[in-house]
């Protein structure tokens, strides 16, 4: 269980996280979603006591992280930036962490085997590939067999097998009753693993909802794709209805993209006018689209505006 209450982090005049409150429940995978620069990593660092919040507080399993006498037994975390000395072997890295809690050294062997690093455990971590580095990060997170697991962008840099492994791992951790918080900027990844979503943009909470609700909420204006040899006639009939838009597809003359009417209405209309339909497909908004829709105002680095401000600045300097 993770609880954030009014978390705020300011770096000088810049606010990275603003008044963020949420609860992460045990037993399910919770996705922590947001575009790059939305404050996900900063929030996770505050949960772990690495950064002190400017305002607000966060507790994990009922206590502030730093107040746990054996924190690695409560929370295991893998942060996005690597947290390993490049000159030390993976085994010694884990052994040093295990020693702080007096964990037996056989536990180091266990987690090394668990993440599949057995072959390279005695090699310098600096020589690891990105994927091996991620696996080592996960081994560190699981070292204390924690009730809460926090993973920042865990699939970054992993090969397909590694990605599948992470997904299964996260699901089984949740199935064992643990609290699992996973950040990502990839909606498609969250659609496959998470049940619940906490969406942030520009450091603010945008949504705290189930994945299913999140998608359906965003697909209110869903479109229907219609393929018919009588596309011109059907288009005219549809446009006569109030609030309906029927646009011919740019590439295929026999396809219409219809919004404002569902597939049943379109089917009935076609039948009444004895028009033949080849295809009638409701187009569900993907999680990706839902996310884009919700965060489009909250994206930190929007290409258009950024270019415009840079342009203005040039002009101002010139003047």
């Amino acid at each position: 269980m993770i609880e954030a209450v009014g978390l705020t982090k300011r770096y000088g005049p810049k606010t990275a996280v603003e008044d963020l409150s949420f609860t992460v429940r045990p037993g399910i995978v919770t996705g922590f979603l947001g575009p790059n620069g939305a404050g996900k990593s900063t929030t996770m660092r505050m949960l772990l006591g690495l950064d002190a919040p400017t305002e607000g507080h966060a507790t994990v399993n009922g206590r502030r992280y730093a107040d746990h006498p054996a924190p690695l037994r409560e929370v295991g975390a893998m942060l996005e930036a690597r947290a390993v000395h490049t000159g030390r072997s993976a085994w010694n890295h884990l052994a040093a962490l295990a020693a702080t809690h007096g964990l037996p050294m056989r536990r180091v062997d266990e987690v090394v085997d668990l993440v599949g690093l057995h072959e390279v455990a005695r090699k310098r971590a600096g020589a690891f590939s990105l994927g091996m580095g991620q696996r080592l990060g996960i081994a560190s997170a699981l070292l204390g067999d924690p009730a809460t697991v926090i993973l920042d962008e865990p699939v970054n840099g992993l090969d397909p097998e590694g990605i599948l492994w992470i997904r299964n791992l996260m699901k089984s951790l949740a199935a064992e009753g643990r609290t699992v918080l996973v950040s990502s900027h990839l909606m498609s990844e969250m659609a496959l693993t998470a049940e619940h979503l906490i969406v942030v943009g520009r450091g603010r909470l945008i949504a705290d909802t189930s994945v299913a609700e999140f998608t359906s909420r965003a697909s209110v204006g869903q479109a229907v794709r219609v393929r018919t040899p009588d596309s011109v006639r059907l288009g005219e009939l549809l446009r006569d209805l109030p609030g309906v838009l029927a646009t011919p597809d740019e590439e295929r003359a026999d396809v219409l993209d219809v919004t404002g009417a569902d597939s049943e209405q379109i089917g009935h209309l076609a039948a009444r006018n004895q028009l033949v339909l080849f295809e009638l497909t409701p187009h569900q908004a993907s999680l990706e689209e839902a996310f884009m829709e919700l965060t489009k105002d909250a994206v930190e680095y929007q290409t258009g505006t950024a270019a415009r401000t840079a342009d203005q600045r040039v002009k101002e300097t010139a003047a």
């Binding site: 772990l48 054996a70 947290a83 000395h85 668990l114 599949g116 067999d145 097998e161």
Partner: protein, 278 residues
């Protein structure tokens, strides 16, 4: 594929949580594992030994070679014990660099985040690093000083100008050098924690030991004599020098002053480690 799915099962064979609390003793063990699992540790300590013993022996050979050409005045200021320990001047740099790296090596690689996550109270990490590094440099420094002394005296013995370990002040000087190197190492650990950056840490340590004395020398002599004995190098030098400057502090007062620098560096490091975001 089955291996992939298999791997997702989490083994749990740990003692109860109440038996696995973080303690200073455990953090000490952790820091010891970290210290002995880096190659830089061995290289730098080896450099410290080679510089103290080897450079000391070299200086002794050189002195032996032209001892007969020295003026009476120069001969009077010659002290065989001091001369055999002079390699310390370079050795303190090697030990200082390693001391700075105790913290800055963790900041530059990101390891500090793992360390601070495991020990969120943070200060035990500083004490443990200081103890591990202090003990290691004390052992290495003392053994090097003993070796440098005996090798140096063996060189001098051919012209019968050497000292014996039983001579007054000699044990204090030889063991004192081990303590001096330990203190310099601890100042370096504190500076690393304080500045969190390798270049800044090494630069400020070298500034303290090498540049500051030169700056003070350029001051008017009345100021100089008031400031110079209290600089860390000179204050600590009083402990392991038998024939030093006339204005030098007495051995243990000098070492006491050096310990104030150690305390200041460690307290400064503690404040930064505790307060600043990792």
């Amino acid at each position: 594929m089955s291996a992939v799915l298999e791997a997702a099962r989490i083994p749990t064979t740990l003692p109860p949580e109440s038996e696995t609390k973080v303690s200073l003793g455990r953090v000490l063990k952790s820091e010891w594992i970290k210290f002995r699992s880096l190659r830089s540790t061995y290289w730098t300590l080896a450099a410290g030994i080679v510089l103290t013993v080897g450079f000391g022996a070299l200086l002794c050979w050189a002195m032996l070679d032209h001892f007969s050409q020295l003026h009476a005045e120069e001969r009077a200021s010659f002290n065989p014990t001091d001369h055999s320990l002079r390699g310390y001047y370079l050795a303190q740099m090697a030990i200082g660099v390693l001391g700075v790296l105790m913290f800055t090596g963790e900041y530059s690689t990101g390891m500090i985040r793992a360390t601070v996550s495991a020990v969120p109270r943070r200060l035990p990490v500083l004490w443990a690093k200081a103890i591990v590094f202090g003990v290691a440099t004390w052992v290495v420094g003392t053994l090097s000083a003993l070796a440098a002394f005996f090798i140096g005296q063996a060189i001098f013995s051919s012209k019968h100008i050497g000292a014996s370990f039983g001579d007054p002040g000699v044990p204090r000087a030889v063991f004192g050098l081990g303590l001096y190197l330990t203190a310099i190492g601890l100042i370096a650990v504190g500076l690393g924690a304080l500045l969190r950056n390798t270049a800044a840490g090494i630069a400020s340590l070298f500034g303290l030991l090498l540049v500051l004395p030169l700056l003070v020398e350029s001051l008017p002599s009345s100021w100089q004599s008031n400031i110079s004995p209290y600089l860390p190098g000179n204050a600590g030098g009083a402990l392991f020098t038998l024939h030093g400057d006339p204005g030098q502090l007495s051995p243990w007062v000098g070492f006491g002053v050096l310990c104030i620098y150690v305390a200041a560096a460690l307290i400064g490091g503690a404040a930064v480690l505790r307060r600043r975001d990792a």
